[in-house]
Subunit: 184 residues, 6 copies
């Protein structure tokens, strides 16, 4: 038997005769993600990795859980997607920063919707007294996520410490301390 | 004063200096839509008509409410969008029909996700004992919705009755009865 | 020998050295399609299934034949394409319905051109005394066609009859009659 | 009165309430173009300049008439479109040249279809004994046409004659003769 | 006189009759940018803001100057563009970080080319003994640049200090110190 | 062993775990191309054929060398790309011709930038006393180049000489002479 794995800009198409309704389905977005981590947040994706039928369709979902108090989905970007979020439970402080370094932010309650334009740094934080939950839709079948602090201070191999020191206007030992925290 | 209304493939861009966080926000997706209508369902959109900041970003949201029992979002298409839906409450029977006339359908519970590929006829119905609620994301800032039965039998001016009779393999008086129901 | 069938969002590319002029050609659009069927119409496609060289090029053709009198290309959509049609012979009544349920229709004679925007329900019917012929171009190499009545009443497996009854505001036995007609 | 002419990447959208079926229609593709010119051919376009409703829809049509004998649609490109042509009457010799300088050509009879991929130099010539007619579809609402010989030898202002002499490996007086023919 | 400023997803098109060769030209990419700033680098753009003819064409250029030693184009993203850079003079250490937190980096000499995929955090630093110069091309007529440290610590209004403290795993006074440096 | 060569609209994707920084790099754009040919010019590409990491990213670079005097990059098109060029050394006369047969041209010195819109015939010629060098960026990972004179008079198999005679308004023996020069 010859097993062939071809990567086709992400995903091969299935033989149409073998596709079923299961290829368009995902179960479990009602299950709270585990927020017992340093940031106090958790993202449960429902994209083409979980739903093969999303291939070529340019959209996906995610559930985001935020612990109380102050669970944080830290500043990050989606290189290939705009995000539109709706709060299902709790109170979130959300914002994005434009290429002109303007912060656009809002405090959102249940039922509020907010848009994070494609590629811009954005964040969400639980500023209420109970857990918060949001559903986000993203304009890509595989949006990708780049955590800003993690990618800069926790890259593998590490980014040169003196480069980061200059970029962040701090000294090298502080960069190295940050790198130990993010790589640890 | 000269008021200028230019339609620019949908929407003109705002002057960057006048854009605020409000242009990326919408409130009220937690409010149940009024389902006291013949189909027993209601769609609350959150697209570029409600959120100017979505312009050019290619995504939008909607809340769909379904009365119990059997509230129906009847067979329809979105000419410009794929839809990905997550059930927030209740039990839905959902399906879409392919261009090969195959029905792909599932019964969804809370937390289940289903994909309706771009342009295909699809539907959702409440098959549980209580109200049902879903959040849908669509891969267009203004997806458009074409209700199949309403557009065929309730168009203005009406589609020729004998044409519809032939297409649906029914007689003309029955078409005329349907037209009275949908145009009434 | 290992035969490999990879589906790549539709179609694999050929090895450039093996491509010939034949891959960009199709013969037979002058041949009338067989209209001896219930609708009295026939579509002869010339898309990427017939012309491999159309792969990635986003366009295709079709010939449509209409018997006299009243041959009908019944209400349908192309999920992935706009259609632009020119009448070669005969007289056609054509129309499409917008997402606002407006019918835009015209009677076309030889040489008349009409546009059916992407994803909208549309139809063409022979309203002259002789056979009619049209050439249509579609803005996709594989536009797909969804026959509205056939997909709803003739899907396999069938769409639930009571769901269709509610959607079309008719009773279940009538739906079942329609389903027998379309599935028969 | 304030007259406003804004060019919006081609065309502004109309106010939806003022759009009618006429905006999606064009009459006259059955009328033979006047081929009493040096090349013995004529192109009648049906694109967004003639059909406002094509705006944003990415497709258009054209009728091409060829006198007998040897009416020629000379080598040209469409910078923004693939072309797919069907012969309605007569016999055409058609071809395109790839970026590897391969000529892909065919002799086409009535009903034959041929594809000219986006941006490549191509041509069609009547090689039969009677007039020939083709219908072409193009994958752009405004495909543009660049006649190769006309653009090089008939540009305004003229391309430097010694540059053209070097490019075509001919002497300057011959270029100047050609320029007089194309500019005359 | 009525002055009309319509923003059309960036830029209105000019009236074709008024376009000249100047609209496709820009002078001065041979002029070294002023690197006497904290980072020791300078970007000179040649995009649609400088060259109106780039409108709708999806590409632009930039010149980047790096002082010696260690001039830094600090970690940043282009929300709408891939970048491909060629070193004209000097020695650069360049890198980008993937969404899997992998650092892909290289030391580049004169004539070396490197690609920074769309939306990912990347940087370039002069690691030679003399000034360095690079030319970059970007896959957008207006790629936008988001400086990571500047956008997070120098946004206006400021991002909440405790949020940044949590995201970067540092204490609030240190965040406030950083904010003073970037906002100062 | 089973060797599998799948062409996927150009290029298969690599397995993510096997990608390295080398896949995003190319060396040698500082090396002058050999201009000892009839046209006195040479193009060194840096596209997806040389840099696998460019796959799906829609951009590429090239270096163009021009001998003195009068080295010529003869009239050509890129069927899939806009080009933006910057002069690194020397003096170039450049131009493109619109679909309305207007020539837009400029004489460029070091540091000058010029845009050649997608699909239009354009050229560059050294009009200075020393060698000239340009860097061009193109809005495609594999832009393709069609040399106008070479493709018309040097195609394989040849384009019919009488067709070219008619198109260029010259006689057949002259076409045959040109064909011998370009095919020789």
């Amino acid at each position: 038997m010859t097993v062939i794995a071809v990567n086709v800009n992400g995903f091969p198409c299935m033989d149409a005769s073998r596709v079923t309704a299961n290829d368009f389905m995902f179960r479990g977005l009602d299950i709270a993600g585990d927020t017992s981590n340093m940031m106090g947040s958790n993202v449960t994706p429902a994209n083409v990795m979980q739903i093969p039928g999303l291939n070529t369709l340019g959209i996906s979902l995610a559930r985001i859980d935020f612990a109380a108090p102050l669970g944080l989905n830290p500043p990050h970007t989606h290189p290939r997607a705009t995000e539109i979020l709706v709060v299902m439970e709790g109170t979130l402080s959300v914002g994005f920063i434009t290429t002109a370094n303007k912060l656009f932010s809002k405090t959102l309650e249940k039922g509020d919707v907010f848009v994070f334009p494609k590629g811009l740094v954005h964040f969400q934080q639980n500023v209420g007294y109970s857990n918060a939950v949001a559903i986000s839709a993203l304009s890509s079948q595989l949006p990708g996520t780049q955590q800003v602090a993690q990618s800069l201070f926790g890259a593998s191999p590490p980014v040169d410490a003196s480069l980061l020191a200059k970029a962040f206007k701090i000294d090298v030992p502080l960069v190295q301390l940050l790198q130990r925290k993010f790589l640890g």
